[in-house]
Subunit: 220 residues, 2 copies
């Protein structure tokens, strides 16, 4: 059975999934890279980017890496919000923007990009971006069809994850709480009162200072 | 040197220190007892209340208890907000309310109760409640004087802790994040952007599901 999984959704201790003022130069707004600092030294990230340099060697292999490595295991398609694909808002002014990831994006699979503004499908390396205006359950149906029997990853951002949680479509939710107070930005937890009634929750603190939360949907 | 310490401040994963709708019957509002569930089975709590019954024996001795037990070590006075003392709001209609704790409150020390509404000092068992309308630094000066060389505990609630953090008067902050989403109530983290710049932060997950955060003020 295909499950819908969220991995590595980083949240500040005060509940913000991104900072304020997102732009091309600052995709996380005033949060800058602080929400992903735990991720950068992991073997999973280092081996993905090929940044095997002296400062990190081949990367750490601790609990942060164990969680980071799970991200792409058994995934056949991704769903992401339009704000994850790029910093533009409103109608596409031109179609030259091909995502943040260069000519070989790390997805290697179909990616459903949720947007109210239509645009032709886009192939970049082994990744195909499908731009669609769909409610959560229809987006999941499309991604499931594209995933060829594997799982679907819900790639964020925070608003998209919140929408799918509210629609009760998420089976696995991995949240990383980073011990910083952003004060402003996009709240992850709003409108989700009582979420714990539907999930088993496990918390694991890491020596890096973050806490990994795993929410596992209870059998329906 | 006297330090100002916060212990056992329980916060939901979405950042609420109490629920909505506090009253005499529901001191934590719709959160009910869920924020303190981790605390009740600890040896520290069981031995404090004398509730050594069959269901809990003499209480647990794990990480939750280690943190709970630190609460009263070396404390000579407490500062609390008026809402922790009682459910009344506005001027004291009468003075028959003597706190939630019966005739032997667990403080055994002077307690400065911050309130805009005056009331004579009140002795209950070994505890003396001093009702004062003071800004944070003056309240701390009074409590320090009362503490006789020991530390001062800042007992909450959330608003009071936030005020003292904003005034940069807190040396030790122990927060317990409970894996529930309350959705509404009193936010603990508001207005504290960048708090981590002033503190070293340590997170420890407990088998009970909560995460203990310890903020230690960096040397000034």
């Amino acid at each position: 059975m295909t499950t819908l999984r969220v991995h590595n959704l980083a949240v500040s201790l005060d509940g913000f999934g991104t900072g304020e003022g997102q732009s091309l130069e600052t995709p996380f707004g005033h949060a800058q890279h602080r929400l992903m600092q735990w991720f950068l030294p992991t073997h999973a990230f280092v081996s993905m980017t090929g940044h095997d340099d002296e400062s990190v060697g081949s990367g750490t292999r601790g609990v942060d890496d164990a969680f980071a490595a799970a991200t792409s295991q058994g995934i056949g398609a991704e769903i992401m919000g339009r704000n994850k694909f790029g910093p533009q808002r409103g109608p596409w002014e031109d179609e030259s923007w091909r995502g943040w990831w260069g000519e070989e994006p790390p997805f290697h699979s179909p990616v459903v990009v949720l947007t109210h503004h239509s645009r032709p499908d886009l192939e970049v390396g082994e990744t195909t971006f499908l731009f669609r205006d769909l409610p959560p359950h229809e987006a999941l149906a499309l991604a499931t069809e594209q995933a060829g029997g594997l799982d679907v990853r819900l790639g964020g951002g925070p608003t998209v994850v919140r929408d799918f949680l509210a629609a009760d479509l998420v089976d696995h939710l991995h949240i990383v709480v980073v011990p910083i107070l952003l004060g402003r930005g996009e709240r992850v937890w709003d409108g989700l009162e009582g979420l714990e009634d539907r999930f088993d929750v496990e918390a694991t603190s890491s020596p890096s200072g973050v806490v990994h939360y795993v929410f596992t949907r209870r059998p329906r």
